[in-house]
Amino acid sequence: MPHEGGARPVAPGASHFGDESSRQDAAHLGMWIFIATEVLLFAVLFTAYAFYRLTYPEVFQQGPAHMDVFLGTLNTFVLVSSSILVALAVDAVRGGKEFVSAALLALTVVMGIAFLSIKAAEYAKHVRDGALPGAWYAYEAFAAPGANLYFTLYWVMTGVHAVHVLVGVGVLVTLMLRTLSGELGARFHTPLELGGMYWHLVDVVWLFLWPLLYLA
């Protein structure tokens, strides 16, 4: 006779799963892990950067001289202030000020688009110079061996980052609409918090790219 492991023990009326606070904990934890994976994604690019910086030290020191430091720095300001706006938006929605929150999100979106426009202007200049990645590299003012790798990394790193900004803008727009429609408010705002975390991540990554590529 197989052993049935006793009767089924059951806690009457206990409901640990599915209540709102445990769902929020889960959402936050999930987002933190996701952010960790994003960091690791960029870690590959930073590794490659370190590797080639060791291989071509002079090139990577001269590289930033061929960048538009003003535009890069301007973009840093844009992104950092947008990050502050998002934090304010989260605070506002927690306090029940849905409309203020949506307005702040709208401003953030504008900043995000400004960032992308400035980036596009920079890219256009690189294209005119011929400072393109890899096989297409034809920038005569900076022709040392390894210079193409510097620019390849520049394009990949800022490009992957720009894709994240673009996704972030999309996320923020949806959050703004959901706040305006009354779906997010003082009682339920987890998605907005998560979206805010994502935007901070995008900001923090840029804070590493900026010194490595523009200042060095």
């Binding site: 006779m1 197989p2 052993h3 049935e4 492991g5 009767a7 089924r8 023990p9 059951v10 806690a11 009457p12 206990a14 409901s15 640990h16 799963f17 599915g18 445990s22 904990d25 889960a26 934890l29 999930g30 892990i33 996701f34 960790a36 994976t37 994003e38 690791l40 994604l41 960029f42 870690a43 590959v44 690019l45 590794t47 490659a48 590797f51 080639y52 291989t55 071509y56 990645p133 890899g134 096989a135 297409w136 590299y137 061996p145 390894g146 193409n148 790798l149 390849t152 990394l153 990949v156 992957v160």
Partner: protein, 545 residues
């Protein structure tokens, strides 16, 4: 065995009957149904990879061209490797049995993010379709490792495959996030960390590796894709890049990935060893901490794939030592399983047969790993069939044995039916024997200098190749039998009852098959998992098979 008694009739419809129709499956958020769908697709992938494996073995039956040319051979081993590693082994146990069982074992209704779970399934399917389409239309011939500079120089169209594997990786990451979050936030009251079932611990360790390593792989694939599209030059010496950087980044993922494949298997074994020796684990804590240890050290060993790449002596020595550390953790695990078996009331059943196969193959494969981790020995064996045999022993021998053990152990749980036990045990013996016959000769071949990835070889190697092909045929035959009797049992097997193995695992507290939300009422867990009573004094076995 007669259907066992349950306390009364089931209280509600099972997850299989809760809703009907194909659409209800394709849109389900139920982790059990998602697990079953994963299982179905994974088995399909295994079939595909297996067919190509047999094709390779047929080509190697005789020296010279047997059934395919050299280019065709290169493409065939690429299909085999890509399908087996990326599309079958890496997702296998976590995506199928992990999805099905993890919430059940934690007394939860579902995973933390059910919709994300379904998204993960569709991402996997999308990635798999893209990968397969890419391989077949592009005639990819790089092998599963996509080594540069060959992968950036070959005339084959690699892009869809890179994107496909990237998408599959994304699915893996989502599953990992889901599992970690579930373990942290969805444990039923009473399940403290030290009461988490061992299979869940293994899945937890696996998920951490998945979440930490897969993004690295994803980015590397993006870089290789860029290299092909834009001539990015990062891995191309002609443009100042370095192909070795690719290998570092690739193995930084892929070595931990081998533990993604084997850790869940170790979890399965920890569960089944307890169930079939009717004893509590020899040391729960050692099993848990060695799981964590493997997950951690697995990240520090990638350099042993590059001993012959001109690595510094110091680097090689360090990687060699760190690799041995993994072997120590693995040995601790083997020790705990043997300790659990020792003086247990062993129940020789089909899952148990696979458990024994697993322990033997893991031990043998692990020892061969230690052998190749010795730098001087690896100079001799690198890129020969010795390595092929090593990783097949571990990846196929151990992971696949565990997969089969899981398939048989949880079959009654998933379907509420049993399969013919005699058939099961007989086939298990056949499969284990076929496996050894296939891969043992490859150690000898490698030692004599047969290089991997060659379609041709000198006359003198033929006997060993014939033995290997014969073993592979037995293996293939064994799988066909498994498919037949399990398929038959789905419909005609005897009804299993709630807990046909008399297991103490938490998942068996629910009905078999479980109801839609796992438990009719939230369960409480007053005892640790795997809490089998003390062995009876008369040595009588507390079960009947």
């Amino acid at each position: 065995m007669a259907p066992s008694h349950d306390e009364g009739a089931p209280l509600g419809p099972s997850y299989l009957d809760a809703e009907r129709g194909l659409w209800s499956w394709l849109t389900t958020h139920d982790h059990k149904r998602i697990g079953v769908m994963f299982l179905a697709v994974l088995l399909l992938m295994f079939l595909l990879g297996g067919v190509f494996a047999l094709a390779l073995r047929v080509e190697l039956l005789t020296p010279g061209e047997t059934v395919m040319g050299r280019l065709a051979y290169n493409r065939a081993f690429t299909v085999h490797g890509v399908v087996m590693v990326w599309l079958f082994l890496i997702p296998s146990i976590p995506a199928s049995f992990g999805n099905f069982l993890l919430p059940l074992m934690l007394g939860a209704r579902d995973v933390a993010f059910p919709r994300l779970n379904l998204a993960s399934f569709y991402l996997y399917v999308l990635g798999a379709v893209m990968t397969l389409w890419g391989i077949f239309q592009g005639g990819v011939d790089t092998g599963w490792t996509f080594y540069t500079p060959y992968s950036t120089a070959t005339g084959r169209d690699l892009l869809p495959v890179l994107v496909g594997v990237f998408v599959v990786g994304f699915s893996t990451i989502l599953t990992g996030i889901n599992f970690i979050t579930t373990v942290h936030t969805m444990r039923a009251p009473g399940i403290t960390w030290m009461k988490v079932p061992l299979f869940v611990w293994a899945l937890y360790g696996t998920s951490i590796i998945q979440v930490l390593a897969t993004p690295v792989l994803g980015m590397v694939l993006v870089l290789v894709a860029l290299e092909r599209v834009a001539g990015a030059g990062l891995f191309d010496p002609a443009r100042g890049g370095d192909p070795l950087l690719y290998q570092h980044l690739f193995w930084f993922y892929s070595h931990p990935a081998v533990y993604i494949m084997v850790l869940p298997g170790m979890g399965v074994i920890s569960e089944t060893v307890c169930a079939f020796s009717r004893k509590r684990p020899f040391s729960y804590r050692v099993i848990v901490w060695s799981t964590v240890g493997i997950a951690f050290v697995g990240f520090l060993t990638w350099g042993h794939h590059m001993f012959v790449s001109g690595q510094s002596t110091f680097g090689a020595g360090a990687f060699s030592l760190l690799s041995m550390l993994v072997a120590i953790f693995t040995a601790m695990k083997i020790f705990t399983w043997l300790g659990t078996l020792y003086r247990g009331s062993l129940w020789v059943s089909t899952p148990f047969a696979y458990v024994l196969g697993f322990i033997f193959l893991l031990f043998f494969g692990g020892m061969s790993g230690v052998a190749v981790a010795v730098t001087s020995a690896d100079l001799h064996w690198h890129d020969t069939y010795f390595v092929v045999a090593h990783f097949h022993f571990i990846m196929v021998g151990a992971s696949l044995m565990a997969f089969l053990a899981a398939l048989h152990y949880w079959f009654p749980k998933m379907w509420g039916r049993r399969y013919p036990e005699g058939m099961g045990i007989g086939t298990a013996v056949l499969i284990i024997f076929g496996f050894i016959a296939t891969f043992l000769p490859q150690f000898l071949l490698g030692n004599q200098g047969m290089p991997r990835r060659y379609a041709d070889y000198p006359e003198s190697f033929q006997p060993l190749h014939v033995a290997s092909t014969a073993g592979a045929s037995l293996l293939g035959f064994g799988f066909v039998i498994v498919a037949i009797y399990l398929g038959w049992s789905l419909r005609y097997g005897s009804v299993a009852g709630r807990n046909p193995w008399g297991s103490e695992g938490y998942e068996w507290l629910s009905d078999s098959p479980p109801p839609e939300f796992n438990f009719h009422a939230p369960p409480i867990f007053p005892r640790p998992p795997h809490e089998y009573g003390p062995p009876r004094a008369d040595g009588e076995v507390d079960h009947a098979a």
